[in-house]
Structures are given as C-alpha cells and as structure tokens.
Subunit: 140 residues, 2 copies
C-alpha cells in the first residue's frame, strides 16, 4: 500500500527539522469529501528518517501500516510495527523514527480544524534530554 496515484505533498514547509518523510492525504482533501470533519493522511518515513518533534492541541490517531520504528511520546520511547495504534495526546511532544533499518508507513487521522504545531523551546528540549534514551534518539 503506497498509493502511487495520490499526490505526494511536502511534509512541511515551515522550516522545521525532519528527514526523509513523505505525506499524502488519502481522504478529506477532494471537494466531494468536504463533509468529512477529519483527514486521513499517509506518512512514510524512509530508513533513517524522522518526523518533526512537535506538539499541538489536536490529538493524532495513528495506525502503523508497514515497517518498524520508534516513536517518542513525551519522555518515553515506544517501539512500533505494522498494526500498532498510537494515540498522540494533546500537547504531547512526538517524533516518529524509522530507526529499525526499514521504512515506516502509517496512517494519521486528524480533525480538519486543528491548531498549528509548536516546536520545543530550549527549556522543553532540555527537559526531554534529561531522559537518556530520548536524548539519544531525538533530532531537532
């Protein structure tokens, strides 16, 4: 499942730090789908890549569809693989890493109306870095 016919979107264009990750909106962007209150997106992180470390008020519902990797959720790491569901709670810093030598693909459902992500402040970063395994993995 790679949806080659669905347009590839820029993962971000806000200058935030990420690596080797693509984004597609599978459902919700087409005009006829305007009645969906949410968007179903598909992200794929290539081996060694990662998403932006960020937080926001809107929650994420993530379902891992392929590969393996690790997710930073606040000050904890979680190994994930195809089939796993990840709930990203409001204001929880999160970063998806394809750190298992293979790509990591996942669906991420979000409300259509949502707030903008916030990058960590220096103080927040310092706090996250107090956890050694998080400090080793996070990229900012």
């Amino acid at each position: 499942m790679t949806w080659p016919d669905v347009p590839l979107l820029a993962y971000k264009n806000d200058g935030s730090p990420f690596r080797d990750i693509t984004r597609r909106t599978l459902m919700g962007d087409a005009p006829r789908e305007a009645e969906l209150d949410f968007l179903v997106r598909y992200f794929e992180v290539q081996a060694g890549g990662y998403s932006t470390l960020e937080r926001h008020q809107h929650p994420h519902a993530v379902v891992i569809l392929r590969g393996r990797g690790t997710v930073i959720l606040g000050d904890r790491l979680h190994a994930v693989e195809a089939g796993d569901c990840v709930y990203v709670a409001p204001q929880c810093f999160h970063q998806f890493h394809a750190d298992a030598g293979e790509s990591l693909g996942f669906l991420c459902v979000v409300s259509r109306e949502r707030d903008r992500p916030v990058l960590p402040s220096d103080e927040e970063l310092a706090r996250l870095r107090e956890v050694p395994e998080v400090a080793r993995l996070l990229r900012v």
Copy 2:
C-alpha cells in the same frame, strides 16, 4: 493486522441484516482518547459475508487493509482490494461484500457524533433493484 487484543464488538444489535462481519474500535473508545472527535474502527467480513445495507447523514472514510471484495455505493458496484480508499457520502446506500472468496478487512473512520443508520424503504429497495448487478449482489 487483526488486533486480537482489541475487544470484538457486536457488529450491530439493531436486528438489521448482515452476515459474518466483526467490528473493533481501534481508537477513540478509551477514556484517555476522549479528545478524538472521531473513531477509528476495523471491520472484517469473512468470505461470503456482508455488512448491512444502510444510509446515514455522516460520511465514512474507509481504507481497505486486507483481501478483496465489492462495495455497493448507491446504484453502483466497485471492486475493492487492499489499499483502496472508499468515501461513503451522506445518505448514500452502502454495503460491503467479501464476495471474492477471501475475507475483506477495512478501517472505517467516522465522527464521534453521528446519526443512526437508516435501512432502505421498500420503495428505495425497488429502485436499487432496477440495476441488475446491484440486484444480484445486495442482501437485505
């Protein structure tokens, strides 16, 4: 991906007609997930089974995860397989069939607040049955 640890729910308990289909809520039912405005459910139809033919105002965003089958959307049939995305528009009659000799598994995202499904009236059924290929497949 079959989520054996996620509780199996009754597909329906309203007496509506269906066959060999199971339902799981993957995300949105847990108290800590109450901030999700939507639910991510997983349905699996065993070979030969089908969901209830129904319509409602809330749309569905469906992503087929396994197998093959056929979906009735209004007066049209659509063959589906893993990777396909199906948008079920408001008030569109729909029925998922695992009619390809294998089970059909799909995610279905819906708004948490939604209206109740409506079964077809005799008149609506008669109209659907005017389309021969729909008439052959539909089960009510």
